[in-house]
Amino acid sequence: MQRAPWRLTARRVHLAVVAAGVVAGLLDVGVALNNNPHPDARINLLVYMPIELLVGWTFLFVGLVAGRRRPDNRVGLLMSIFGLTWFAFLLQWIHVPVPFFFGSALNGIHLAVLAHLFIVYPRGTPAGRLEKGAIAGIYGWFAFTAISQMLSFGARAENCDGCLTNPFYIPGTSWLHAPFAVVSDYGTLVAAVFVLGIFTWHWLRASTPTRRAMNPAAWTALPVFAAVLAGHLYNVGIITAQVQSVLKPVEWVTFAILPVGLLIGVLRTRLGRAAVSDLVVELSRQQVTGSLRDSLARALGDRSVELALALPDGSYVDSSGRSVTLPASSSGRAVTAIESDGKPLAALIHDPAVDEEDPGLVEAAGSAARLALEKERLQAEVRASLEEVRASRVRIQQAADSERRRLERDIHDGAQQRLVALGVALRLARDHAAYRGDQALVGDLDGAADQLKQALSELRDLAQGIHPAVLSRAGIGPALRILAEVSPIPVEIKDTPSERFSEDVEAAVYFVVSEALANAAKHSGAKRVDVSVRREGASLFVDVQDDGAGGATPAGGSGLLGMADRVAVLGGMVTVASPRGSGTVVHAEIPCA
């Protein structure tokens, strides 16, 4: 068996992040135990190192648990990334210039990740452009401050008596370092307040289960925010060192508590169920953005969700009434049927993973949306019926047209040929009678021949009326000119397209003009009719205008109504303007592309 090619999946990225975080934590332990001659080392070993390890690893593994529960939700991955970046400062413990200065620059990156996490919590993705922009802005701001501080840090590190040379230093910029640090602190303050605002706004708008998921995170986040704010307020000199000395140890503790809050949130309520509640709220508020399918896709966290609505005959259609075939169980897609009063209402076609992660979620979402589904199903049923009626009208018209062509051909090949041959036979008989001098018989045969001519002429008109052979052979222009020739009212053909169109379209144009001319001749008393057929874009525009009495209405005769029906079959429309006393204009627009 051939193995599937290796791909970089979100899950593999997540595992790599966790592995890197574990290694970083072990490095922290190693550094604390062996590599530090500093007097603070003992305090480090006993107090800070365990807390650092606790915070970092808790985030890593809580993130992993959350990620397994909801693979499509990025909250878990973001928590693990936070855990990894938490250890970024460790690079400073390596006494080699490049990692040392990188480490000092990356010192605050975990705060940017934390901001990202809180903006998207608990959904995992930013909602809207503002939030996307905010996340990008925060990362951009962090990159700017980190790089600017690294470049202006000074030529040497000072904490170990100038032991390391800064390889990134731009000479002469060290005076910028302090202003940059202040700007950075203010930026972080603004970002923290902004993130707190967005989180609060999400909390206020959330449904109760989502709030239940958010509450532990919110309560544990508040001290974190307070500590971060206090730290930066101290940095810019707004609060005093005394206050800061009290708050400093608290900051670390709050970070240690935070993942516990997030974990409780994840465990307490499944995010999927919260999303179903959000769906109910969304549907009941009539705030459905996009289609019902989109709402369901959001609730299930599966963008590939398809909605199939059940028709009474057991078939399925999509929202626009097009037929849908439910995938077989072997197709790699799962189908969940939604029923109402024991009758099939709809089927959700989705990724089987959704059901595996959270059994019953799809059914719950489907049930929550039952009323909306029922409405959508009725609409789809109406659309499907309309579509069926339209298709059936087209079929009826095409069948009638092809029957007419067949009839005309039968008349031509059968009766007309026989009658012409009969005429020749009569002529021969007449010649024989004349040769024998039977004048009475000659007279009878001449009379019969005259009757035959009349019959042939009538038969010709009949066949032409059933289907004009010239239309099939030569198209709209020649066919309309023949209509004009036989019209009792003078007809001026203004424009005709020289190109050919489908049989349906040509027949419809011919029918419209023929009906309009017949109406004009019968009712209007017109002295003249102008006919024009023009192609503009994907449509043919037919205009038949007479100078008669006007007052024609579709109700007055079946001619205009039949014309409208015939054109409607092709998706076109007919308008008749016939003010009394100023002529009649029949205008038809027929799609021809």
């Binding site: 090949d413 010709r460 052979a469 023949i482």
Partner: protein, 215 residues
């Protein structure tokens, strides 16, 4: 006179063959479709070909293509095209495109044997034949405006006969007037319509048809 006929109806062919033979016209061959007609004519060229427009396989205008092909390959063979329906554009185009010896008649005319024989004789001499119904319709097209209104009743009658492809002598015979009278009417008609007078019968037919068929 030797004539080859092409029509997919055996009944019509046999009647036409008898009609022609009793009038002393030799039938050189009978074809059921256009391809057979071409091979017959290519083997043995008759004086004239009578061909139905609508023949197998497509039942649209095979007869016309055959007529054009015969006319271009064997210019001395006259062609009479028969049509079940009056197709004015088609007839006008056929007569004005080809040089001479081409005719277009409604199929019904065959029972007016004298008209048929007259048409065949005119085609044999290199003249043109246009069905009177075609001419009537062409003249009917230009009812509203134009110099046609200035023509007298007699002049219209003569114009129609000219359009059918008849010579001055044939017109004078038919209208029981002298040939000189016809000539003077023709001169008047041409000057009223702004056409250039020509002695050649076929060019005269073409000029008149082009004038009448002009949109």
């Amino acid at each position: 006179m030797r004539v080859t006929i092409a029509d997919d109806s055996a009944l019509f062919r046999s009647g036409l063959v008898r009609l022609l033979q009793e009038a002393g016209i030799e039938v050189a061959g009978e074809a059921r479709d256009a391809a057979e007609l071409i091979s017959l004519v290519s083997a043995d060229q008759p004086d004239l070909v009578i061909v139905d427009i609508r023949m197998p396989p497509t039942q649209s205008d095979e007869g016309l293509s055959a007529a054009r092909e015969i006319h271009s390959r064997w210019p001395s063979v006259g062609v009479l095209v028969l049509s079940t329906y009056v197709d004015t554009d088609f007839a006008t185009q056929l007569i004005t495109d080809e040089q001479r010896g081409v005719g277009y008649l409604l199929k019904d005319r065959v029972q007016d044997a004298d008209e048929l024989f007259d048409a065949l004789r005119r085609l044999q001499r290199g003249g043109s034949v246009v069905d009177p119904e075609v001419v009537t319709r062409l003249m009917g097209r230009r009812r509203a405006e134009s110099p046609m209104e200035q023509l007298s009743e007699r002049e219209r009658e003569i114009l129609a006969l000219m359009a059918q492809g008849r010579s001055n002598q044939a017109i004078s015979d038919r209208l029981f007037v002298s040939e000189r009278t016809v000539e003077s009417h023709v001169g008047s008609i041409f000057s009223k319509l702004g056409l250039e007078l020509t002695a050649d019968d076929h060019r005269r037919v073409r000029a008149v048809l082009v004038y009448l068929g002009r949109p």
